[in-house]
């Protein structure tokens, strides 16, 4: 049929056209295309985006990026050895070492070989100056993370680590590259999404020697967003110096909005080692294996019995429940008997007859045993919870411990046992099953200092200029007379010569606080101090916790005093 013939003819013409085009491209224009394919090695280079900087409240940088210079070599067809020999002294390596490194790291015919990581700027300049003698060697720059405060702020900043295989597989669809870094702890981790920027791409034509011919296109990299913290750099450093030999934690919080001025967990580590992981592999291993667990943020995760610091809460619970009043007196003979068991006061001779103010000042256990028995565990538990114990504080820094507020119902459910009367006694003095984190305790101190505001602690006040500080605050309804009573007691703890916290005293201003010496099995007691200053018009609250440190009044109180003193110098009050 003619029509079918015509159809066939049309397609035959198309095929003929194709053959002609092929002939033109592959035979006539062959040399042009060959040259292009040799010359035209378009390589996209990733322009690594620097992570956002982290600044303290004064605007100074805590975490920033510096430039690192890496020395690469392109595998070359011949003459590699001479160039490498010339390069070795510049890199301060022996010739044999450099040649060995070159050979062992060689991958494919076109993959650049990393010869030396993070060389000094002078070395980098020398290499660039010798470009003619070292034809296939070049310097590539990339941003590298720098933690300016090092160990002093490690638990705040956290650190970054190279992305792992599995993590890469999960994330590659979202634009991650296998050379990317991820925040592993602290702010680096919690705010990783904001801190990481967007990589840029530079496409350039390179000839077969890898020489840059022309830039075809550039998509600029975008730096990650910056964080402004509530942290005061000088205070942070000062606090760390005080704590660095003492395992434990310190948290300083301002009372207007709940911003954290300083947060230290000891022992600490230098986050910078993770950034230069190749060079610091051994130090990293040591840090990870250290039995004292320096990577642990004790301020947030550590759950400990609060000991006598808890007495201010049990006091308020008792007052609230009308179990006692400001004038109630109990006699302390040095011990307290309940159901055949003896509960001792820390002063063996006893404190004699005391009212609430004196009991707080002397931290008398017997007074509080009595108080606790009259109040009952449920009321104490209720007051604890309204102070924020037993729940996450939700600081934007990482994983927290929840702590534990026990009560009879909880015990029944968990241990299938009844609550013993003696447990109420222990509860009232902050022992027993009760567990708190240092962060929860400073928040509790803040409740008293602010007259009932349960602040939401936060560390990041702005992300790239945008205010993200918390706006809502929970309130606890406390009778103002009860509150005034407890506050006066806390002032006496520091001001009085019979007060357990007198070592925190300062000459210029009044501090209010409470010490704690918490018994914990298998070891020394934990030393606590919580407090706020100035006592009359509180601006800041603090918790000083020394793990297995001994007596709160001897170990933690003086540290708190020094920190408050420094804050006075800095002008906080």
């Amino acid at each position: 049929m003619n029509k079918i013939r015509v159809l066939f003819l049309i397609f035959s013409l198309a095929f003929a056209w194709i053959l002609t085009a092929l002939f033109k491209m592959q035979v006539l224009d062959y040399s042009m295309y060959l040259e292009k394919s040799e010359r035209n090695r378009i390589r996209p280079t990733v322009l690594e985006a620097p992570r956002g900087v982290i600044r303290d409240r004064t605007g100074r940088e805590l975490v920033s990026n510096r430039l690192a210079f890496d020395c690469y070599a392109i595998p070359y067809k011949s003459g590699e050895e001479t160039a490498l020999r010339r390069l070795a002294p510049i890199l301060k390596l022996s010739e044999s070492k450099l040649l060995e490194r070159y050979a062992s790291r060689k991958r494919g015919a076109l993959t650049p070989i990393l010869l030396s990581n993070d060389v000094s700027p002078e070395t980098a300049i020398r290499i660039e100056e010798s470009a003619w003698d070292l034809p296939n060697v070049y310097i590539e720059t990339r941003p590298i993370r720098e933690y300016r405060l090092g160990e002093a702020a490690a638990h705040i900043t956290g650190y970054i680590g190279a992305i792992g295989d599995e993590e890469y597989d999960h994330r590659r669809g979202f634009g991650f590259r296998f050379t990317d870094w991820l925040g592993r702890s602290g702010l680096e981790r919690v705010y990783d999404g904001y801190l990481r920027g967007e990589h840029g791409v530079e496409q350039f034509e390179a000839d077969s020697r890898g020489r840059l011919l022309r830039v075809l296109d550039v998509r600029e990299r975008v730096q990650g967003r910056s964080l402004d913290l509530t942290i005061d750099q000088d205070l942070q450093r000062f606090t760390y110096e005080l704590m660095k030999e003492t395992p434990g934690a310190v948290v300083v919080m301002e009372l207007e909005k709940g911003g954290i001025l300083a947060l230290v967990s000891s022992p600490s580590y230098d986050p910078n080692i993770f950034v230069r992981s190749r060079l610091e592999a051994q130090r990293i291993r040591q840090t990870l294996k250290d039995p004292l667990k320096p990577l642990l943020n004790r301020a947030l995760i550590g759950e400990y019995p609060p000991g006598s610091t808890f007495k201010i809460i049990s006091a308020l619970a008792a007052l609230q429940a009308n179990a006692i009043s400001g004038s109630t007196r109990f006699f302390c003979p040095g011990s307290f008997y309940l159901g055949g068991f003896r509960f001792g006061c820390w002063k063996k001779e006893g404190h004699g007859s005391q009212d609430l103010l004196e009991a707080i000042e002397h931290s008398c256990n017997v007074f509080f045993f009595n108080t606790g028995m009259k109040t009952g565990p449920d009321a104490i538990a209720r007051m604890s919870r309204s102070f924020g114990l037993g729940e996450l504080a939700r600081l934007d820094l990482g994983m927290e411990g929840k702590g534990l507020v026990p009560d009879p119902k909880w015990k029944e459910k968990t241990f299938k046992e009844k609550w013993y009367a003696g447990e109420t006694a222990n509860f009232a003095i902050g022992q027993g099953h009760l567990l708190t984190t240092p962060l929860q305790m400073v928040r509790a101190a803040a409740v008293i200092a602010t007259g009932g505001r349960v602040l939401h602690p936060y560390i990041v006040s702005r992300v790239e200029g945008v205010d993200i500080s918390p706006s809502q605050v929970r309130k606890v309804r406390l009778d103002s007379a009860d509150l005034a009573l407890v506050r006066r007691g806390m002032e006496r703890v520091v001001a009085s010569d019979a007060g357990t916290g007198q070592k925190a005293r300062s000459e210029d201003f009044a501090i209010a606080g409470k010490t704690g010496t918490a018994q914990a099995p298998n070891g020394e007691d934990h030393a606590w101090f919580i407090g706020y200053a100035p006592a009359g018009e509180p601006r800041v609250a603090i918790v000083v916790f020394a793990e297995r440190g001994g007596m709160g009044g001897m170990v933690s109180a003086p540290i708190a005093g020094k920190i408050f003193g420094f804050m006075r110098e800095l002008g906080y009050f």
Partner: protein, 362 residues
């Protein structure tokens, strides 16, 4: 086969040749270091080819008129699947596949069978369109519905593919050629308007086609790299597995739409022209079968299928040469893809089937 003839030798052997050649270049385009053999694309491709071969051999035993009976069922199923696929999660920005277990079915491939069959069924009556011009709306409608669904996926290439199929079958069925020409003219006049309705990336492809250098890193990249690959292959090619454009990953989609670039680079003009001639031979036998077929249904079907295959091959190769804009159109029998392999081999088998049955049955 008592009333049949031997199957067309060329249609039997040439596809085998192309498939084998294709497998070589596919292995070059898709090899990954350290990948176990049974996971490689080549292995899967061989599997599909074997399955297709079995299917074809089985189908040759039956007179192709079974399709006539199944025509509307097939068509309905196709439409159903095409609607269903629009609700499937998008992969690579397009909803073209329905996943069943570990298999992916592409309904647009099924349309490549059911649409020509339905068109042939509609137009097989000798008096079709002779007295009543309105008859011609039926085949047009039969094509528009699936074509629009396919365009919605979006799959521009396959959607537009049915236009030449429809036109060629209409012509052979008796549609006045003048009308065809005026329709084409109208299409050309309407193209700016239609252009406006394309998706952004499709518009970009056409603009880039006209000037690849305007966006050398984005859409122009593929065409530029493809031409360099093919051109630098020269007469004899750079050798299997030795194409620098291929191995250095400069060619995107090189195991699917741009497999011909790999053939051009590594096999040179010799390999490329062998492949081109091989496709041309298949087309030639296809139209020959159509011309020799004594009954309308078979003739129309053969014309439709041959035009379909011819268009696919021409468009794909022209795309790699930069002679046509980039559309998603695989090179059948060579590009990787189970649905494509099975359907194209089955369609060739169908042409063979038509050629084997020479008695008129209507």
């Amino acid at each position: 086969m008592k009333d049949g003839r031997r199957p067309d030798l060329i249609l039997l052997l040439v596809p085998i040749l192309i498939s084998l050649i294709g497998l070589f270049f596919l292995s070059s385009a898709s090899w990954r270091q350290g990948q176990p053999l049974d996971q490689s694309l080549v292995f899967k491709q061989v599997f599909w080819m074997a399955a297709a071969a079995v299917l074809v051999l089985f189908s040759l035993r039956y007179h192709y008129r079974f399709l006539l009976n199944l025509a509307w069922v097939l068509y309905a199923v196709t439409l159903l699947l095409l609607i269903l696929v629009l609700f499937m999660p998008a992969r690579l920005g397009a909803s073209r596949w329905i996943a069943i277990g570990s298999f992916n079915i592409q309904p647009s491939e099924l349309a490549k069978l059911s649409v020509p069959v339905v068109l042939a069924a509609l137009m097989q009556d000798r008096e079709f369109g002779l007295f009543n011009k309105r008859d011609y709306w039926k085949p047009v409608l039969a094509v528009i519905v699936p074509a629009l669904l396919i365009l919605k996926e979006p799959d521009l290439g396959t959607g537009l593919l049915f236009i030449p199929v429809l036109l060629s079958m209409l012509v052979v069925a008796g549609f006045p050629v003048r009308w065809i020409l005026s329709v084409m003219a109208a299409g050309a006049a309407a193209s700016p308007f239609l252009f406006h309705h394309l998706k952004t990336y499709q518009k970009l492809r056409i603009l880039t086609f006209l000037d690849p250098e305007r966006d050398p890193l984005g859409s122009g990249y593929t065409i530029i790299q493809s031409k360099i690959a093919i051109g630098s292959g020269g007469l004899f090619g750079k050798g299997l597995f030795a194409g620098t454009q291929n191995q250095l990953r400069f060619l995107p989609e090189k195991h699917t739409d741009f497999i011909f670039s790999v053939i051009g680079e590594e096999g040179g003009f010799i390999a490329a022209s062998i492949v081109v001639l091989a496709y041309w031979l298949i087309i030639a036998r296809g139209y020959h079968t159509a011309a020799e077929c004594p009954n309308r249904f078979g003739r129309l079907l053969a014309v439709g299928i041959t035009t379909l295959l011819a268009t696919q091959a021409v468009v794909n190769i022209c795309m790699t040469l930069g002679l046509l804009p980039v559309v998603g159109m695989p090179l059948f029998m060579v590009s990787y893809g189970g649905s494509s392999v099975i359907m194209s081999l089955f369609l060739i088998g169908l042409i063979m089937n038509i050629g084997m049955r020479r008695e008129p049955f209507l």
